[in-house]
Symmetry: C2
Subunit: 244 residues, 2 copies
């Protein structure tokens, strides 16, 4: 029996944002591997084994998924959003590099609607012009690298999608990021705080950056800092297509 | 009768990448407005009027959609990929700003799988670390702005997704972009040329940037320039989660 490994994105939360490709992969799976809250989004059924795991054990989880596939299982590794954006795909390829014996396995990556796209859609079109995405988690990169990227992104006049702005283990990073952006002259930029997009408890808030407070973000918030031209029209905001 | 305007993303091409949300909106529509090749992806049926239009008439198309909605139609404006990324959402909000009388209309933006996510999934996980997206079309922004952003993106060590690298009307831009990135020290970076992702004629090619040629891209190509740490494992490439 030949196993398969599929690395799939479940989108931001609402089943109406899960692609048919991913739905079909879940229906064909024998095993679901992932961070517990994402595994919990998959409906249990006969013949399907769920393997929920804790946060911050990505490599271990990836190795488990590869091992199961090598034993003939049809494994789906689930991430929220898109699996390639600050999610499980990189971890699986890291694990694969460490274990060359698994490199012949049949692997597929199925894209999904990543958080910034869902958040942008609720707010209007803040990513309608050039933009960047920065993961504020400093578990895996030094803080000075994050600060440097924020400064260069401001200078490039990118809209900036900030993933993982805040967590209990590093509550101060996001406040420092706001300071960096204020110092870089972004105080008048419009910022979107998009919490739990597409879930019942969704909340969208927009403020000028100089008025933004660290506590406006939590673990379930995606932050989008508009570019210098981002403007409001009615309840919406958008980045004009034209640039200077 | 109260009309509605839905701005929807059809994903990169394959129906298996269209969200159920978008499928439902198309099923409830009376009118589909968009660039002809995207409108052609919607199945005709009784009660549905298709309004295909040419490229580069985004504002006019957006105004037509708003007018139809104001007359009571249920209009879906379709884009390829995600409607908020270098697509119709910004144009609709621009048109809305010009025509305040339409600002009371019921408007929704439905996200989709944008080209860079689909391209990244086919290649592995080149967007697994911080990245940016730059539209190389200079119809709406001056070339020096594009060049400046490329240089800053290289300095920030972002992976760089390049949309619209090349078209018949401006064949030389992409070659200049490659020159800028080579000069910025990115010659050893791995580049993905992803053409027609999820369509039958899909083609994925990876080379070092110093070996990349302008003619490797055409109108249907999405280019991803890896960051300095992006590496190969078997037939895949990925950006490690860890940064220096």
């Amino acid at each position: 029996m030949t196993g398969t490994l599929t690395i799939a994105g479940l989108g931001p939360g609402d089943d109406a944002l899960v692609t048919p490709d991913v739905t079909a992969a879940l229906a064909a799976a024998t095993d679901i591997v992932g961070y517990a809250p994402y595994v919990a989004r998959v409906r249990p059924r006969d013949g399907l084994t769920l393997h929920p795991s804790d946060n911050r054990v990505e490599l271990q989880r990836a190795s488990e998924a590869l091992r199961l596939a090598s034993e003939g299982h049809h494994v789906v590794v689930v991430s929220s959003g898109d699996p390639g954006v600050f999610a499980m795909a990189s971890a699986v390829f890291e694990a694969l590099e460490e274990q060359p014996k698994w490199q012949g396995l049949s692997i597929r990556v199925l894209p999904g609607v990543t958080a910034m796209l869902a958040a942008a859609a609720r707010a209007g079109a803040p990513l309608g012009h050039d933009f960047c995405a920065i993961n504020l988690s400093d578990n895996l990169k030094p803080w000075p690298t994050i600060e440097k990227r924020l400064r260069l992104a401001a200078e490039a006049d990118f809209a900036i999608a900030i993933y993982n702005p805040r967590s209990a283990s590093r509550p101060e990073g996001f406040g420092r990021a706001l300071d960096v952006l204020n110092e870089a002259g972004c105080g008048e930029r419009i910022v979107v705080f998009a919490r739990a997009v597409s879930a019942p408890e969704e909340r969208i808030e927009t403020v000028r950056l100089r008025e933004a407070k660290p506590e406006m973000a939590d673990m379930r918030t995606l932050v989008i800092v508009g570019n210098s031209a981002t403007r409001r029209v009615g309840r919406w905001l958008y980045a004009p297509r034209q640039a200077r």
